[in-house]
Symmetry: C2
DNA sequence: TTGTAGGCGTTATCAA
DNA sequence: TTGATAACGCCTACAA
């Protein structure tokens, strides 16, 4: 059994309420007894029992994160950053890997201070929206009919930025690799951004320029890129909807002996450092992970500490210019 | 505020201890009152307060998992399976992403039933071994001087199996891609397995046949494979130390226009389904993830439920024959 | 078959 | 400046 406040009290020869105060640095305790108590606590490695604390104070200092899909790198990276960000603000993060339902239920029983729900590529199934006594903030969930608060990234704007950037470099035939079909998924916003930008810029909306990928894995990116290369009038630039897809696209280029950026320019969604560390540092659009993490953590804490206030805005999308883009070769 | 046992008691017109018993299906309560109480509980969505429960019962039904490195696919997959496995046995898993110290401390304050610590590629730093009142089971940690119980995979045996398998197919020049240098990391066992098998089989221990990779990322595998291909007398088969490395190796082969398995055979560590879904289904060695998850969950629960018993053994390494291996071409 | 009372480790409010 | 004491939500003897 670990040492409790009562053990310390007995050893210090004071009552346990005094110990409680001393450990919280209350001004109601003399410096002398405070010292004695603190020394004792250190010596015996006293750790307050969070369970007991949160039972009485109704505050746990924990944000529960529900994370259904563990295998997307941008999200893994995001998790690390969010955890760090919460810690900075003296909260702790605890993750539950698995279904929304299981996670939300567990965190409700645990009475954490707030819940963060992530769901990136699955379509939102409203029947799954689980009731929660504890405030829930969702990220990347198409919140049709959802009772949760939400914060999200401007995926559409990000892709628009990418297209405009390529257009500015002189590209006209710009391809898109990503989710074209799941209309209820937030992933689809990226496609909308592409279509809208192409349209606005008066660029050809050739269906051969876009390839649907079912999942955000590199194999799909690879497949899609090969497909684009077979095209009679192939693109001079590609916008990719995720880091994983981009990895696949680069491979396909390699295999086809095409040089990036001289033969093909690439802009990738996901503003993560990993994109800078590929063989060719890839120009990226999106909200930088650290900023994203900071905004999400901020929003989550605002939600628990000032319920009712509306959540702070997500940071703006940024473009990180790297080496994967160049003007198209003359004559193309 | 959520509904408590007292609320239900008031509504049912009984005392709250009766409710407590009824909800636990105690035989000390009449069927009739039990029904009434249970209906009420359902109707109002009563969820027992885990905090209060575990404060009194000293049991939380939670296993805390400390997970420092989020970005290795085999581990991500493993997490999902372990969570599922624990749930089957009516426990819940909660992850803490970050340092060993932070995680162990948090879970101690939370008084979870047991802690599982993962650490795959970093060297073990004994100074980091944090004191824990709660039983800790470590996986993949070089437990020099560690006070934690541990369970682990026979990495050495796995790689030996791989080498023997290739040898059986007729290969003589077998390469190895993995961690050659961090002697205190468990990753190093793989290299030892390679060296020992080569030695036992009387195969050439040509230093040019092995390439050190610093991290388990595909870029390193790619780099290593290119290196092996430059070799004057290049290998006819490669043993790869992880899924990520294998992905990189395959890319390098592609780029060099080498066909797998006719030009080069590959066996990869990590018995995960992802290896079967690469363009060429890759022959793998290791303990299959599901089995591994089951063993780890089993060991963790044994540790919390029967302290003192020694942990059950890890499942044996298996070889999954797929399409990435063939006898070497004659004349090589 | 049901209710009462004490306690789990803390915090917070009063009284001393 | 300190110490009792009541709560937080639940469990478990034990008493009725």
């Amino acid at each position: 059994m670990s040492v409790t406040i009562k053990d310390i009290a007995r050893m210090a020869g004071v009552s346990y309420s005094t110990v409680s105060k001393a450990l919280k640095n209350s001004p109601l305790v003399s410096e002398q007894t405070k010292r004695k108590i603190k020394d004792l606590a250190d010596e015996y490695g006293y750790q307050p029992n969070l369970i007991a604390q949160s039972l009485v104070s109704k505050k746990s200092g924990i944000i529960g994160i529900v994370w259904p899909t563990v295998e997307i790198i941008a999200i893994s990276t995001l998790m690390t950053h969010i955890t760090a960000e919460l810690e900075k603000r003296s909260y702790s993060a605890l993750l539950s890997v698995g279904s929304l339902e299981t996670g939300v239920r567990l965190f409700n029983r645990l009475h954490v201070d707030g819940i963060l729900v992530f769901e990136l590529n699955r379509m939102f199934d409203p029947s799954e929206s689980v009731r929660s006594e504890i405030p829930v903030l969702s990220f990347g969930l198409s919140n049709v009919a959802s009772s949760y608060a939400s914060i999200d990234v401007n995926r559409k704007g990000a892709i628009e930025t990418a297209v405009r950037y390529l257009h500015g470099l002189g590209h006209r035939r710009i391809g898109f690799v990503g989710n074209l079909e799941d209309h209820f998924s937030k992933q689809h916003d990226k496609f909308l951004g592409y279509m809208e930008a192409m349209d606005r810029l008066g660029l050809p909306a050739d269906p051969h320029l876009r390839v649907h990928t079912r999942k955000l894995v590199w194999q799909e990116g690879y497949r899609a890129a090969k497909f684009l290369l077979q095209c009679r009038d192939k693109p001079t630039a590609i916008v990719s909807a995720s880091y994983e897809l981009t990895v696949g696209i680069i491979l396909a280029m390699k295999e086809a002996q095409l040089h990036i950026p001289s033969d093909m320019s690439i802009v990738s969604y996901d503003h993560v450092p990993q994109l800078a560390h590929l063989e060719i540092p890839v120009t990226a659009v999106g909200v930088p992970v650290e900023k994203m993490a900071a905004c999400i953590a901020e929003a989550a804490l605002r939600m628990v500490e000032h319920p009712g206030d509306d959540s702070p805005p997500m940071a703006e999308v940024e473009l990180a210019e790297r080496l994967s883009c160049a003007p198209p070769k003359p004559g193309r």
